[in-house]
């Protein structure tokens, strides 16, 4: 087991190093610059700016300097917003994005599961068809359309919730609703399929023939077994939860990390792009690392083969 963990750890470090290197050179290969200098700016001013941020040096030298700083845990300061450090941005934006992302997954999963159960139990009934329609809508309507829609009605027309901002609990509801929308559809569909599958299994017939009543069959046998694929899919769902909602963050003006990532790329804010990419990569790599280890515990064959 120790050897397995060590091996996974080494590959994790290599992955991070590769991500950092590739991002660094790709980022500099993309045309653009972090400064918005007017066209009449004289060379003297341009040169001073480039020198201030070390951009006048050869790319390889910049790379070495960046990597050295990175090893010391120094992610640097945004080139455009001079008071914002990369780590500061992550610590302020990540929790906000997490609330919306995980809130969306959780709410979507719970509501979606209920719909799925209803649909499966009332198979081919009107509820079932409504859930199918919902599932199709959920998959086909992009979340920025749905976000603008609920913003218009719940906030602008009916004034139930604030239109935008991030100042308290009532500001959380609409963005989480928007983020949950696709998930509701996804989980409803998944649970419906998986339940119908389980309901056709032999052991359900056995349970029925034992004389168990409907509630016991559903509660003890069907649900437990049909939740398995749902649990498996939560992993990748959560990985995208932190960064996947930048459109919703934009609509509801939520100071999350997804929005920062987009604006840093648009601004060619080199330090911010690098820092955020590496931190995101780090989080996903850690997640996969943990998953690998759990798999190892659950299934000894993986451990031996790995």
């Amino acid at each position: 087991m120790g050897k397995y963990v060590a091996k996974r750890f080494v590959s994790m470090v290599i992955t991070l190093f590769l991500v950092a290197t590739v991002t660094f050179f790709l980022m500099h290969a993309v045309p653009g610059q972090p400064f918005e200098i007017s066209r009449e700016t004289p060379e003297s001013v341009k040169e001073a700016l480039y020198a201030k941020y070390g951009l006048d040096r050869p790319l390889s030298e910049q790379y070495v300097i960046y990597m050295k700083n990175l090893l010391h845990g120094d992610f640097g300061v945004s080139m455009k917003y001079k008071s914002q450090t990369v780590l500061g941005k992550v610590t302020s934006g990540m929790p906000v994005s997490a609330v919306i992302g995980f809130g969306g997954v959780l709410a979507g999963c719970l509501i979606g599961a209920c719909f799925g159960i209803l649909a499966a139990l009332k198979n081919k009934g009107i509820t079932d068809y409504l859930v199918i329609i919902l599932a199709i809508l959920g998959v086909s309507i992009p979340n920025f359309v749905f976000g603008s829609l609920i913003q218009r009605y719940f906030a602008v027309e009916w004034k139930l919730f604030p239109i935008q901002g991030w100042k308290g609990a009532e500001y959380v509801i609409l963005p989480v609703m928007a983020a949950a929308f696709t998930n509701v559809a996804y989980y409803a569909r998944m649970l419906r399929t998986s339940m119908l599958d389980v309901m056709g299994q032999d052991y359900i017939y056995t349970a029925k023939s034992k004389g168990l009543n409907q509630d016991e069959i559903v509660g003890k046998h069907i649900l437990r077994n049909s939740f398995l694929p749902l649990v498996t899919s939560l992993g990748p769902m959560c990985a995208g939860a932190l960064t996947g909602n930048f459109v919703i963050e934009k609509i509801f003006n939520v100071p999350g990390i997804g929005q920062s990532m987009i604006s840093s790329i648009q601004n060619s804010d080199y330090t911010m792009i690098m820092g955020l990419t590496i931190i995101f990569a780090f989080i996903s790599v850690i997640c996969y690392f943990l998953v690998d280890i759990i798999y190892g515990i659950v299934d000894p064959r993986i451990r031996i083969a790995g």
């Binding site: 009449e40 001013v45 309507i141 359309v145």
Partner: protein, 559 residues
């Protein structure tokens, strides 16, 4: 059964789509209790409104997060509004015949040759922390922006000061720099005669920063609420980055007794639906209305503000053999109909630009530059001119030995996302009139800017030039500064203008404008205009056509 369900489903989907579409339109056309439409350069400038509301709060929005509120570093007109709300300029812009009202400067004298400018600082003006604003702060501010370590993108704008460039490059010391202070007087020497110096002083770029704070925070001054010391009518009390800002009344402001507004809530968002909803629910007092939405907002109190900006098609004669040919450039210029373009794309035929300098710029003897200079370029009035354009194109192509097909592949029209409609309209005009269809490529601003500065573009549409002061120089100096157009006659004329003052100088700029346009490198498109919906209870808001957009100093909110 199954078929029925499918039918029902598609109906449902259609219904859902219709709901989406109507919702996204974001209409406020329900409100019919409209106010009269007003035209003019400033809005709601009356104090005749009703009783003051209990809460003096104004909500505004900005599309992008300001990089800084440091007046000496800020490079954005949008952020300039906040810079000038928090920092006091030497003179505040106004719409009286002088163009300004007193601010930090109480007196201004200039030497006969227009090179030595003496500014008298207001006695008793204070920073928001209660300390005095001194002449020393101003001298320090100027020396600071000319220090390479600050990394200001606009440092070159201060090169008008004597020896500033040399000081910036480290070739001259502080004692050689043309800025001196004695008592409450500041003496600024310009390297050449400058009779528009007071116009420059109305900009937000000359608002001093506190020496103590600037020394403490360095280049991070102005990037957070606790890293900004106010001298203007408002102070920055909260800044949640990429989200919101709060400005509150500065009690230590020299003219605090004339400031009624207590608080400005600034929302930073680029989502159009969000700001439209906020305006509808009175969370915003001001909303910028795009041309295509003007009809929808026709019942609102709309103020059209022509902005001191000209947009043009720019050809690059140095990067491309087609563009290097003057006949081809002229053909393309004739085949572009400004009037039609202004009517169809900008929804206002009046905006068509027949010169490089927009209306509202200082001309000779206090008049208007544009009126005096007249129309320099004209639209093709009939088919014979279109025929001439075709002849010119053929001649040009023959000169470089190319065909139309080769030209279509030879270069592309470059534009920003915001200029896509414009580019497509012009692409279409060239196709109709000349039978050539050039591809359009849409680029990000930070991709296009280096192409412009590096001279690697072919033909840019929707670009333009604005000025921070009402002077023709602001619209043509950039051509000289870029130094890409290598024409001795042109350079000599610009240098001549810089040695002149008064009407002579204006006349020289008129000659320069004509010369530039005769070479078909810059093809004027339109004079820009913005449309603002302003809530009727917002009084005294000043909206400007150049530099910073708003002044909130005199704003009050009525019931």
């Amino acid at each position: 059964m199954k078929k029925q369900v499918k039918k029902g489903m598609s109906l449902f989907l259609m219904l859902a789509m219709v709901i989406c579409l109507t919702a996204c339109g974001g209409g406020s056309n329900k409100e019919t209790d409209g106010n009269t439409k007003t035209d003019g350069s400033t809005a709601a400038d009356s104090t005749s409104g009703g009783e003051l509301a209990d809460e003096q709060v104004l909500g505004i929005y900005r599309k992008t997060e300001p990089a800084t509120l440091d007046p000496w570093v800020n490079n954005s007109g949008e952020a300039g509004t906040m810079v000038a709300a928090v920092h006091e300029p030497m003179l505040r812009k106004a719409d009286n015949d002088k163009g300004y009202e007193p601010a930090l400067m109480t007196d201004y004298t200039v030497s006969d040759d227009h090179t030595v400018h003496t500014l008298t600082l207001r006695e008793g003006a204070k920073w928001s922390d209660g300390t005095d604003i001194t002449a020393d702060d101003i001298v320090y501010s100027i020396q600071r922006v000319l220090d390479q370590n600050l990394g200001s993108e606009i440092a070159y704008k201060y090169y008008v000061i004597k020896n500033a460039e040399a000081f910036y490059k480290g070739e001259a010391g502080a004692e050689e720099l043309g800025v001196k202070a004695s008592g409450n007087q500041i003496e600024i020497t310009t390297s050449e005669p400058c009779d528009y110096f007071q116009d420059i002083l109305t900009g937000s770029q000359f608002c001093p920063v506190q020496k103590k704070a600037a020394e403490e925070f360095g280049d991070a001054y102005g990037t957070d609420a606790d890293k900004t010391v106010a001298s203007g009518p408002f102070k920055l009390t909260e800044w949640v980055h990429e989200n919101s800002m709060v400005l509150e009344k500065n009690e230590n402001y020299w003219d605090a007794e004339n400031v009624t507004l207590e608080r400005i809530n600034i929302t930073i968002t680029s989502d159009d639906n969000t700001v439209q909803g906020m305006y509808q629910n009175d969370e915003l007092g001001i909303l910028q209305v795009k041309e295509e939405l003007l009809e929808q907002y026709s019942s609102e109190n709309i103020t059209d503000v022509s902005s001191l900006r000209v947009t043009f098609i720019e050809f690059n004669p140095n990067n491309n053999e087609f563009m290097a040919n003057k006949n081809i450039r002229e053909a393309l210029s004739i085949a572009f109909n400004r009037k039609l373009f202004a009517e169809q794309v900008m929804h206002n035929g009046e905006l068509a630009a027949y010169g490089l300098v927009p209306r509202g710029v200082k001309g000779m003897d206090g008049g208007d530059f544009r009126e005096q200079a007249g129309d320099i370029v004209t639209d093709a009035s009939d088919q014979s001119e279109i025929d001439r354009a075709n002849e010119l194109l053929d001649t040009g192509l023959k000169e470089i030995g190319k065909t139309k097909e080769e030209m279509e592949k030879g270069f592309s029209i470059q534009c920003l996302e915001s200029g896509k409609n414009q580019a497509q309209a012009i692409q279409n005009m060239w196709k109709t009139n000349l039978g050539i269809e050039m591809p359009v490529s849409v680029l990000e601003i930070n991709v296009l800017l280096p192409m412009l500065t590096g001279g690697t573009f072919d033909c840019v549409i929707g670009g333009g030039q604005d000025s921070e002061y009402r002077d023709p120089q602001g619209f043509m100096q950039f051509i000289y500064d870029e130094g890409k157009w290598d024409n001795d006659e042109f350079r000599a004329l610009v240098e001549k203008a810089h040695s002149q003052t008064g009407d002579e100088r204006i006349q020289t700029w008129m000659d320069i404008e004509k010369m530039v346009l005769d070479n078909f490198i810059y093809i004027p498109q339109i004079y820009a205009e913005n449309h603002w919906a302003v809530k009727p209870y917002i009084q005294g808001l000043k909206i400007f056509d150049y530099g910073y957009e708003f002044d909130f100093k005199h704003v009050s909110v009525t019931k």
